[in-house]
Structures are given as structure tokens and as C-alpha cells.
């Protein structure tokens, strides 16, 4: 299996390290040719405004949309979740827009309000969640599965093969979510066997 990590800006190396530690081959995605032959993609944290602009300038936006909308397993954290969201609150801008949720950026406030908390994630169990100038999901469509809430706010969802998280599993030291994501990538091989021919 080969997992791509979007490497335009932000904490992509942390995801690569975690995936490499659990025995996965990773490749950094900066241009369209890097999308060849991926079994899954990680959209890392960082600044969503920067990543969004670089998605456009690199020409990655349209082909990446095609792949994700076509079922490529996707793990999106923090800024990555903002890239996936269909609506961004108080902003006319959207990026990939493949995940039918409304996201609120910097929902908890500035850096002084960043925090760590341990809460259950559906199918994973208790997980130490690192929130850094994090967004949360204000509204999710009916068919979006809610995996975790913190203080009543939605912070983790799954929709088809897309997983969106407000927090940073790559900074938690706990690879459970990454392992679960990899199992999703493997399952997809069964569902779409033609993908590899």
C-alpha cells in the first residue's frame, strides 16, 4: 500500500513518521504527478488558507477532488478537515468541499485556548485529543457519521471513505486512528479491485 501525505504546508512530516512507524510506505504530494497509484491520502494540519491557495496554484485541486469524490480513503486533520468541508462558516471560500459539513474555523479562539482532552472516539476508544487553534463541525448532514463530540461540539466524523478530525492524532503518540485509517484503505482494495489494474 502507498499512502500520500499532502505536503504543501503544515505538519505533514508528523503524519509520515506515524505511518512509517506502523510500517506503511508514504509519499509526499506536492504536484499532480504525485497522486499516481495512491491507496489513501492524508490531509495534514497547518493553515487552511495557505494550503487552499497552494492546492489551486499547484493544479492539485481538481484531480484531488476527483480522487476523493471517487472514494479514495482520506484522513483529514484540523486544516485538512477545513479543506474537505462543503461550507466554511462566515466565509464564501471552500476548497475541496467533498464532506457535507459546515465547519467553524478557529472555533475555540486563539492559541491561549488550545487544549488537550481525552474523550471516546467511536470504534477507537478513549483518545488523547490535541486541539491547536482548532475548528469544529457546526453542522453535519444526516448521512455523516459522528465519531466524537467534545462539550457537545462535533470533532470527528466519517462519511464514505473520508475521515475528518478537528484534532491532531499525529501529535498524540497514539497510532490507533492511523491504523484504523489504513484498514479502511485496505478494505477499499476489496471494494474497488479495478483501481489497481
Amino acid at each position: 500500500m502507498k499512502i500520500g501525505v499532502l505536503a504543501l504546508q503544515g505538519a505533514f512530516i508528523e503524519h509520515e513518521n506515524m505511518l512509517t512507524d506502523i510500517g506503511t510506505v508514504c509519499t509526499e504530494v506536492r504536484q499532480v504527478s504525485d497522486l499516481q497509484g495512491l491507496d489513501g491520502i492524508v490531509l495534514p494540519g497547518g493553515e487552511s488558507t495557505v494550503q487552499g491557495q497552494l492546492l489551486q496554484k499547484s493544479g492539485l485541486l481538481a484531480p484531488l477532488w476527483d480522487l476523493i469524490a471517487g472514494g479514495l480513503p482520506t484522513l483529514a486533520t484540523c486544516a485538512g478537515l477545513i479543506l474537505l468541508a462543503q461550507k466554511i462558516k462566515d466565509s464564501p471560500v471552500t476548497h475541496l468541499g467533498t464532506l457535507p459539513v459546515t465547519i467553524k474555523r478557529n472555533a475555540y479562539g486563539r492559541q491561549l485556548s488550545s487544549f488537550v482532552t481525552e474523550e471516546p472516539v467511536k470504534g477507537i476508544g478513549n483518545f488523547s485529543m490535541v486541539f491547536i487553534r482548532a475548528p469544529y463541525i457546526e453542522h453535519a448532514d444526516m448521512d455523516v457519521e459522528i465519531l466524537a463530540k467534545v462539550d457537545g461540539k462535533i470533532v470527528a466524523v466519517k462519511y464514505g471513505n473520508q475521515i475528518g478530525l478537528s484534532f491532531h492524532p499525529e501529535l498524540s503518540g497514539n497510532p490507533k486512528i492511523h491504523k484504523w485509517f489504513l484498514s479502511l484503505c485496505e478494505k477499499r482494495l476489496d471494494v474497488y479491485p479495478l483501481h489497481h489494474t
Binding site: 505536503a7 504543501l8 504546508q9 503544515g10 505538519a11 505533514f12 512530516i13 508528523e14 506536492r30 504536484q31 494540519g45 497547518g46 493553515e47 488558507t49 495557505v50 491557495q53 497552494l54 496554484k57 499547484s58 484540523c78 486544516a79 474555523r105 478557529n106 479562539g109 486563539r110 492559541q111 491561549l112 488550545s114 487544549f115 488537550v116 490535541v130 491547536i132 487553534r133 491532531h168 501529535l171
Partner: protein, 291 residues
């Protein structure tokens, strides 16, 4: 600052990696920077080149001006306080700045002591010319390091020197036998535990950006290829002919820092770069402040 807060503060710096942090003096410039792809802005009253030109004592910016910039953009906002001026830092924390730069660009307020950054909740970035300075700042609580370079010159030579020196010293520590680290820590004037961290992990315990004199997309890519994890651009953008275009080009060059063909395209028609002065022509050497 407890350990969790410190990890969160280091984490914010990790989110800034691969990005460009731009000096801005007005909300309008902050918006230009955000739209060009800055991952954070540094709010200050005068950019370093103008601080140099104005002379005199340079202090923390007016909080009202910083708040105006905080209101204008959604990306993190940083601001500078003077070296050792912990009350300026308290003021910046009170207005919920995202990152404080305890900076040699401003006039030092204390010629012996840096701020005890462990006493704050808000994260700090500090300048360093070598591994000793970097690890001393980290032991004082800095959650991010940048090279000092020589601010406000448009001359990248010192940033290159500082980045090369830091990385050479890291390689030296890595190659040592563990029992040699005690003496190395003593010579570097740093705590043994931090020397040991570098020896075992082959890197600083925090994110390391380049700063000071970066003026072109090629300068930014040079610093990235030398091992910087991101770039500060101070005077280089708003002292140039076409700030929006130059800023966007530097952002793309930092992402694609090994793609020379792209950097060539990005370097076309950027208009005039900042004029620049070389270090032999200046009297005030800011990099010597705060060791």
C-alpha cells in the same frame, strides 16, 4: 507554563512548518500577506529596515495596532517584545497574541537576562546564531527557534551562516560518544539534557525557521534546502516593488523548494527587490544582541 501547554505551543509551531511568516505594519498589509499565502503574520509598527533607518530605541508595538491586525486576518498573529522585557511580553499575552517573538530587532531591555518564558502560557519564538544560543533559549521556555540572520538588510548571508553553523554543531553532537556529551554541553553552555536530546534525535527539540535577510524566492528555497523548516520574511516583501506577487512567489518557493524550474518561473517579473545593504555598511549589528 505546564508541560501540556508547552507541547501545545510547540505544536502550533509544527503547524506553521513549510510556511512563510511575514512582517506587516497595517491591517491592509496583513490582508495582502494572508491572501498571498502567509501562514502567520508578525505585527510590528516598523519593519526592520525602517527600524534601522530611524535609529533610536525600538519598542513593542502599540497594542491597538496589533489588535487591528488580529481583527483583519484569520491566521495566527505574532508580535515582538524586547529581549528581557517581560512586561511587554505580559502585555502581549494579555491581548491574546498567538506567538511572542523575543527579538533582537528591537532594542534590548536587559543586557544579561532573557525573559523566563516558562512563566508564560503563550508561546515564544527566539533568534539564535548557533546551537548554544538555540538550546539556551529553549531551556528558558522558547517553543520555536529562528536564525537571527541580520534583520532589515535584504542580505541573506548571516541567515545562511547561522543555519549552517547550527546544523554543523548538531551533526557534531550526534556523532559524539554519549560520555563526551557532558563536556560538549559545558562548552556550548547548555543543559546536558538538551544536548542529549539533540544527540539522540539529530535535531532541535522545537521547530527551526530561517529569518533575517530573506528577500527572494531563491533566498527562501536556499534556506529550506539548508534545513530550515519554514521562513520569516521581514522587510523583503513590503520594501519591494510588488509585495503581493513577491509574497505569493516566496510562499510557493518554500513549498516546492527543490523544484528549480518552478522557482525560475516564480522569480520572473517580480519587480524590484528591496535594495538591501550589506553588513559591512551597517553600524548596528542586531545579531549580537541577546546571546
Amino acid at each position: 507554563m505546564n508541560q501540556t501547554q508547552y507541547e501545545l505551543n510547540k505544536g502550533l509551531a509544527q503547524m506553521l512548518k513549510g510556511g512563510v511568516i511575514m512582517d506587516v505594519t497595517t491591517p491592509e498589509q496583513a490582508k495582502i500577506a494572508e491572501e498571498a499565502g502567509a501562514c502567520a503574520v508578525m505585527a510590528l509598527e516598523r519593519i526592520p529596515a525602517d527600524i534601522r533607518a530611524a535609529g533610536g530605541v525600538s519598542r513593542m508595538s502599540d497594542p491597538k495596532m496589533i489588535k487591528g491586525i488580529q481583527a483583519a486576518v484569520s491566521i495566527p498573529v505574532m508580535a515582538k517584545c524586547r529581549i528581557g522585557h517581560f512586561v511587554e511580553a505580559q502585555v502581549l499575552q494579555a491581548i491574546e497574541i498567538d506567538y511572542i517573538d523575543e527579538s533582537e530587532v528591537l532594542s534590548p531591555a536587559d543586557d544579561v537576562y532573557h525573559i523566563d518564558k516558562t512563566a508564560f502560557q503563550v508561546p515564544f519564538v527566539c533568534g539564535a546564531r548557533d546551537l548554544g544560543e538555540a538550546l539556551r533559549r529553549i531551556s528558558e521556555g522558547a517553543a520555536m527557534i529562528r536564525t537571527k540572520g541580520e534583520p532589515g538588510t535584504g542580505d541573506v548571508v548571516q541567515a545562511v551562516r547561522h543555519m549552517r553553523k547550527m546544523n554543523a554543531q548538531i551533526r557534531q553532537l550526534v556523532s559524539m560518544k554519549q560520555d563526551e556529551l557532558f563536556e560538549a554541553a559545558k562548552q556550548l553552555q547548555v543543559p546536558y539534557e538538551l544536548a542529549l536530546y539533540v544527540h539522540e534525535n539529530q535535531k532541535l527539540p522545537v521547530v527551526n525557521f530561517a529569518a533575517g535577510g530573506v528577500a527572494t524566492p531563491a533566498d527562501a528555497a536556499l534556506m529550506m534546502q539548508l534545513g530550515a523548516e519554514g521562513v520569516f520574511v521581514g522587510s523583503g516583501i513590503f520594501k519591494s516593488g510588488n509585495p503581493a506577487k513577491r509574497a505569493a512567489a516566496i510562499v510557493q518557493a518554500v513549498t516546492n523548494y527543490t523544484d528549480a524550474a518552478l522557482i525560475a518561473r516564480l522569480s520572473e517579473d517580480l519587480g524590484e527587490a528591496m535594495v538591501g545593504i550589506n553588513p559591512n555598511e551597517i553600524k548596528l549589528i542586531m545579531e549580537e544582541r541577546g546571546q
